[in-house]
């Protein structure tokens, strides 16, 4: 009885291994393929075999040296600048708003939160055109400064997840501090923020990554300002029907270069990310 249970378990485990291995391969294969293709030395973009017959580092070299049509290094720097600034501003404003609604009590609190929730339900790019004209009026359209403003301005509406996290930090801490004569300002910076490391990291990661992946807003705002283009926009343009046969390998190389740092950060911070989404999901 025990033996058969054991063998059944072994067989079961074997099946699980098999399934998981197959699934893992399916999930990793496209990523392996793009890395492989980025080193392809084939002359033609569309070939009749899966694995390239020639290997080269040339695609990467070209990506950074041939700037005539797509200036990838420039775009990379632009995106990095946007990501850094919008990350700082968004993180600060999200945490500030989340803390306010989690800890401070004031008259319009409930109404404020409801408005924020309702605003979050409109499809985001419905407002793109108006945003473009507002930025144009203040002279920030077609520049990365405008993009930074737009990315950070809307970020504070995404405070719900962080608020859920702050709600779990014991209130007794605040009260003790208040008794010791700390102001709300001091409580926020010196007590709550250090406690909230996972959610700070989560907010930093998500707001740092979003400028690398958004191209709709960038396309709408930057238009023909090619020297302000972001990586996402450049990569998207490389897969344009008329360009793809010339730029496909460079597109793969460019994608790999974007993906490596983001993947590295993500894997390292995975724990915080999971705490962020599950914390937010369960706690509202």
């Amino acid at each position: 009885m025990i033996k058969s249970y054991k063998t059944r378990r072994m067989v079961g485990l074997g099946v699980v291994y098999a399934i998981l291995t197959i699934l893992s391969i399916i999930w990793v294969l496209p990523l392996v393929w793009i890395v492989m293709t980025s080193f392809s030395g084939e002359d033609a973009a569309f070939i009749d075999h899966v694995i390239p017959s020639k290997w080269t580092f040339h695609n990467y070299v070209q990506l950074f040296t041939d700037k005539a049509i797509f200036n990838y290094p420039r775009a990379f720097m632009n995106t990095l600048i946007i990501a850094i600034f919008s990350c700082i501003i968004s993180t600060l404003s999200v945490l500030m708003v989340a803390y306010t609604f989690s800890r401070l009590r004031f008259k319009a609190r409930k109404a404020y939160m409801n408005v924020a929730m309702i605003l979050g339900m409109f499809p985001g790019f419905m407002t793109m055109i108006a945003i473009y004209y507002i930025l144009k009026t203040i002279g920030l359209s077609q520049s990365i400064v405008g993009l930074i403003v737009v990315y950070s301005a809307g970020a504070s509406l995404g405070f719900f997840i962080s608020k859920g996290f702050f709600d779990t930090v014991p209130k007794a801490l605040d009260e003790a501090a208040t008794i010791d004569g700390a102001t709300k300002n001091q409580i926020f910076w010196q007590i709550i923020l250090p406690m909230a490391k996972p959610i700070v990291v989560y907010t930093v990661i998500t707001s740092f990554i979003s400028p690398w992946t958004d191209f709709i807003m960038a396309r709408m705002l930057l238009r023909d300002a090619i020297d302000q283009y972001t990586v996402a926009l450049v990569l998207w343009n490389m897969t344009d029907k008329e360009k793809v046969d010339q730029f496909f390998y460079r597109f793969c190389a460019g994608s790999v270069i974007v993906a490596i740092p983001i993947t590295a950060v993500f894997l390292k911070m995975q724990k915080f990310y999971v705490e962020g989404i599950t914390g937010g999901a369960v706690k509202g």
Binding site: A44, I69, Y132, R223, D224, I226, D240, Q246
Partner: protein, 452 residues
């Protein structure tokens, strides 16, 4: 130009006087030259152009700053933005610099920005004020740009000479309500056959029947993207069809159903059952497949020239579209033919300079330069007939095909997809390819395109 070579100033002065005298622009050729080499009075030139219908050539315009630019750039700097495709950026910038040099006493600054011809129209319509002052676009965008006055009508003295110099079809695509509203830039936006001359001879490429026979013999592909409306329209057009828009902007098709069905049947007979015919996206794969020796020929346009020339090297060759046997007679395939156009944004702050620049860029000199440096086919008749075109494999094929083409104007958005669907129906052997089956597919195409 003037400042550089003082020696020719005299000749120029003389030729200018003759030209202005011929053109009937009043008698102040003298003041013209003075103004272009510094100073000059605006009022006199204002009077000279009263008689607007007389043609002014590009050279005349360049010599007379007051005529060309009015008072623009005299006191404050004129800034213009030009949109040109990325691969032609350098050439355009050089030409714009040359234009600026022609007016040494005017402050003009021109910036050329990369913008594909296919997106230009949409971007102009999205925000005309942020768009370029002078922009290149393809003729299929004309129906969006002309009716709502996104382009500024060409001044009549330029228009007269555009009419006289360009191919008549190129003039048609820049005409709206009887007025010239844009400047023809190229006359080459059509498709033809690229082939590998080591695999198929110039004789064999002449008819689709012989092409397919060579394909079968050598186990190579012939690629034509009939599933795309742009190429798929070859079937109804070969049957003598034409198209236009009605007053409300809906598509009108002047197709003879019996003829179209018969033609489609001929295409089906040759292509549908032949595994060596591919209707893949030629723009995407043709260069790859020719390079790898998978294909021996395919249909695409000048926009793929450099990629395919690089792929085939010494075996590069071009030809007009082949003939196809219909009812026993070899009939030339008729294609759709587009033009590239330069438009002046109606919101430009410097209309005179912008128009003068557009006129200059589409003039004989600039078209010649682009033909030589980029391989772009001209729209000016004189250049079309030149030896350069005759000696260029690609361009001679373009213009040979142009003889059997319908201009790409008067098309509604609903035209493309049903035409493509009909094209792919005809070459798919799983479909019912009897005359009745094709007639049914024809009806659904016709109804979908003309639906209101």
């Amino acid at each position: 130009m003037f400042g550089k070579t003082k020696r020719v100033a005299g000749i120029l002065l003389a030729s200018c006087m003759i030209a202005t005298a011929f053109a009937g622009c009043g008698g102040d050729g003298g003041s013209t030259t003075t103004s272009s080499s510094g100073g000059g009075d605006a009022t006199s030139s204002g009077g000279t152009t009263d008689n607007t219908a007389t043609a002014v050539s590009v050279d005349d315009m360049l010599k007379d700053a007051d005529l060309a630019l009015d008072t623009e750039g005299k006191d404050t700097e004129v800034k213009l933005k030009v949109w040109a495709p990325a691969d032609a950026l350098k050439v355009f910038q050089a030409q714009c610099d040359e234009f600026v040099k022609s007016f040494p006493d005017r402050k003009i600054k021109i910036e050329v920005v990369a913008q594909g011809e296919s997106d230009a129209a949409a971007n102009v319509m999205n925000d005309p004020e942020a768009a370029a002052d002078v922009f290149a676009f393809a003729s299929d965008q004309a129906s969006n740009l002309y009716p709502n006055a996104f382009v500024m009508p060409v001044r009549e003295d330029f228009a007269a000479s555009i009419k006289a110099d360009n191919m008549s079809a190129a003039v048609d695509v820049v005409t709206h309500d009887g007025n010239i509203v844009a400047f023809p830039e190229t006359g080459d936006n059509g498709y033809f056959v690229y082939y590998n001359k080591s695999l198929i001879s110039a004789d064999e490429i002449k008819s689709i029947e012989s092409i397919m026979k060579v394909c079968d013999d050598k186990d190579k592909q012939f690629i034509m993207n009939l599933g795309n409306g742009y190429y798929g329209c070859v079937i109804p057009l070969t049957a003598g069809g034409t198209y236009e828009l009605d007053a409300e902007g809906y598509q009108v098709l002047n197709y003879d159903k019996d003829k179209v069905v018969k033609t489609a049947k001929a295409f089906a007979d040759v292509l549908a059952n032949n595994s060596h015919f591919s209707s893949a996206d030629t723009d995407k794969v043709l260069a790859s497949n020719l390079k790898q020796g998978k294909a021996l020929a395919g249909v695409s346009g000048t926009w793929k020239k450099s990629a395919i020339e690089a792929a085939l090297g010494g075996n590069f060759a071009c030809a007009k579209l082949p003939t196809i046997k219909i009812d026993g007679t070899d009939t030339d395939m008729v294609s759709m033919f587009g033009y590239k156009i330069i438009g002046v944004n109606s919101n430009t702050k410097a209309p005179y300079t912008a128009q003068a620049l557009a006129y200059y860029l589409t003039g004989e000199k600039c078209q010649t330069e682009r033909m030589e440096q980029l391989g772009w086919g001209p729209s000016i008749q004189k250049l079309v007939d030149s030896d350069t075109v005759k000696n260029d494999a690609c361009l001679s094929a373009v213009y040979a095909q142009r003889e059997h083409s319908v201009p790409q104007i008067g098309l509604a958005g609903s035209f493309w997809d049903p035409t493509g669907a009909f094209g792919s129906y005809v070459v798919e052997k799983k479909n019912d390819l009897s005359e009745e089956g094709i007639a049914k597919a024809y009806d659904s195409m016709y109804n979908n395109i003309t639906a209101k």
